[in-house]
Amino acid sequence: QGAKIRIGYVSPQSGPLAGFSEADQFVIDGFLGSEAGANFEVVVKDSQSNPNRAAEVAKELIIDDEIDMMLVASTPETTNPVATTCEAEEIPVISTVAPWQPYFIGQQGNPGDPGSWRPFDFSFHFFWGLEDVISVFTAMWGQLDTNKQVGGLFPNDGDGNAWGDPNVGFPKPLAELGYGLTDPGRYQNLTDDFSAQINAFKQADCDIVTGVPIPPDFTTFWTQAKQQGFTPKAASIGKAILFPQAVKALGDQGHNLSSEVWWTPNHPFASSLTGTSAGDLAAGYAAATGKQWTQPIGFVHALFEMAADVMGRVDDTRDPDEVTAAIAASELNSIVGRIAFDGAGLPPFAAANVAKTPLVGGQWRLKDGGGYDLVIIDNSDHPEIPTGGTMEAIS
C-alpha cells in the first residue's frame, strides 16, 4: 500500500484567534475515522495566532514533515503567511475562512496597484468575497426602511483594509446602490474609545452600521454607542459576532444584530466524505464537546473533504504539480456547498485560485430563556438555503 498521504494543517489553536479552531480536533478525528481518511496522516500545527509562527510551522511541515499538501484555515493572519510559504516552497495549499480579497490581494507585493497583481501557482482558496457580503448586507438593509446612511467601522488589519478598500471594498458598490458611507478611517485593533466614530456617525445621521471589528472592539463600540445615544436601525457586522459567545457577551444588547452567514446546521448540504448532513455534523459536535456549534466547523470539515477528493484523483500524491492540477480541476459538493475553481463570480485575476461558497444573511435573536439564536433572514443570492424569518430593526 505504501506510506500514507501526509497532510499538514495549520490553524490558530491558542491565542486570540483560538475560537476559530475549537472544532479542529473533532473534525480531524472524524476525517481520520472515515473510509477515505484512513489513507491519510494529518500533522497539525498551532500558529499561536501569530503570523510569524504560522510561517515558521508551515516551513517545518514542508521541510521536516515532508507533507504532500497543506491545509490552512482561519483569518488572513493565518492563511496568508502559510500560503506565501507554500507558494515559495512549491507545495500545494488549500485555505479557507478568510474572504478571498484579503487572502488574494493581501499576498500581492503592492496591494495598492492592481496592475501588479499576479495569480498564484500552488495556492487555492475557497470562501466568499466582499462582493457577497455587500450584496447580502444591502439586501438585508433593503428589507428595512432606512435613510441609506451607513457608518463603517473598519480596522487597520487584513479584513478591515479589504472591507474599506476603495477598489474592492464597500465604498464603490454602496455608492452605486445609492447608500452614503461614512468611513472615519482605519483604527487600530484593541482601541478603547470609539467616541470619534460615534460622533461621526451621529453627525452623518447614520441609520446603519457595518464593519469588521474584532469582538472586544465591537463590544466597546456598541456599549459606547448606547451610552452616547447613538441608536442605528441596523448593525451588520462581520467577524465580531461570528461566535455565539461573543454575542452573549453583549448581554441584551446583541438582539437583532445582523451578520453574514457562511454556514449553519440548516444549510442543505452534506459531507462528501460520509454523507452526514450539516445538521448532523453540528449535532455531533455538540454531543461530543458539549458546546454550541460554530460556523467554522463546516469549513474546516470541507477542507478535509477537499483533501480526500483531490488526493483521490491523483496518481502520485508526492508530485506537487499533479496535486495542484487536481485541485484546480476540483468540483466537489461539500458540506459548505459546491467548490470549483471555475472563476464563477470572480474577477479574472483571481479566477484560477479562488472558489466561492454561498453566503446568506442572518440575525441574532434573543431566546426567551437567555442565549441567542442565529436566524437566516436573507437568501436572495442563494435561495436554496432556507430562511427562518425576516429582517427586524434594532429597537
Binding site: 491558542s14 491565542g15 483560538a18 467616541s195 456599549t223 451610552q227 445615544g229 448581554g251
Partner: protein, 287 residues
Amino acid sequence: MIWVDTIIQGILLGGLYALFAAGLSLVFGIMRLVNLAHGDLIVMGAYLILLLVTLLGLPPFLAAVVAMPLMFCIGWCLQKFLLNRTLGDDILPPLLVTFGLSVALQNALLEGFSADSQRLPTDVLTTASIQAGPISLGVMPLLTFASAVLVIVGLNQLFYRTELGRAFRATSDDATTASLMGIKTANIFATATGIALVIVTVAALYLGLRANFDPNIGPARLIYAFEAVIIGGLGSLWGTLAGGIIIGVAQTLGAAINPEWQILSGHIAFLLVLLVRPRGLFPRAHD
C-alpha cells in the same frame, strides 16, 4: 460641541487608564519593580470575578468585593515568595521574571478558560447615560472615573495618614535603613503588592464590565498603564491620574482627526511629555 465631547470622553478614558495604572504605580513607586505581568493580573482578576459570578451567582460588584481579599493574598504571596527575590539595582531580573509570569499566566488562563471572549454580566447600568446639555455621558465611564479618583484618594490617605503608609514611604526611600528601624521590608513589599492587586481587582471589574476580555488581552493595556505611571512621575499617584488623562485625551483628540492617529497620538503625547520633563510631571524631589 464635538470637541468638548471629545475631550470629556478622553478624560473619562483617562480614568480607565489611571485605574489600570494605579496598582502599577504603587508597585513601581515603592520598589522600582517593572511588572510586565500587570496586564495579565488584571485579566486574571476579571476571570476570578467571572468565576464568582457564575459559581455563586453574585452580582459583579459584590463578586469584586469578594475577590479582593483573595487577590490580596495572591499578590502578597507573589511578592513574598517570588518577586522579592528579584529586587535590586538591576532592572533585568524583575523584567524577565514578570515577563515569564505574564506568559505563564496568559497560557494558564487559556488552558483554564479557553480563548473565548468573556464579559461580566451586564445590566441596564452598562448602557445607561446622563444627559449633560448636548453631551451624553455614560454612567459606566463616569463610575470608572470616579472609582479611579476614589482609589487614588484612598491610596493617598493610606500613604499619608497611616502607620503602614509611613512604612511604605520609608521603605521606598531606603529599604536598608528601614530594616534598621525594625520594618520587615519583605513584608512591606508583599503588602504593597497585595494592595496593588486589590486595585487590580477594581480595574478588572471595569475591564470585564465595559467590554470583552480573553486571556490574551492583558499586554495590550499594559503599555498605556506604564505611560501613565511614567509621565505622572515616579511614586506620584495624582500624577498617574494626570498621566492617564493626558493619554486618554490625546487618544480621543487624535481619533477625532483620524482614527488612524488614535493610539499613535497617545504614544506621541507620552514621548513629548518625557522630552520636556524626563522624570515625569510630578517627580519626587529626591531620588
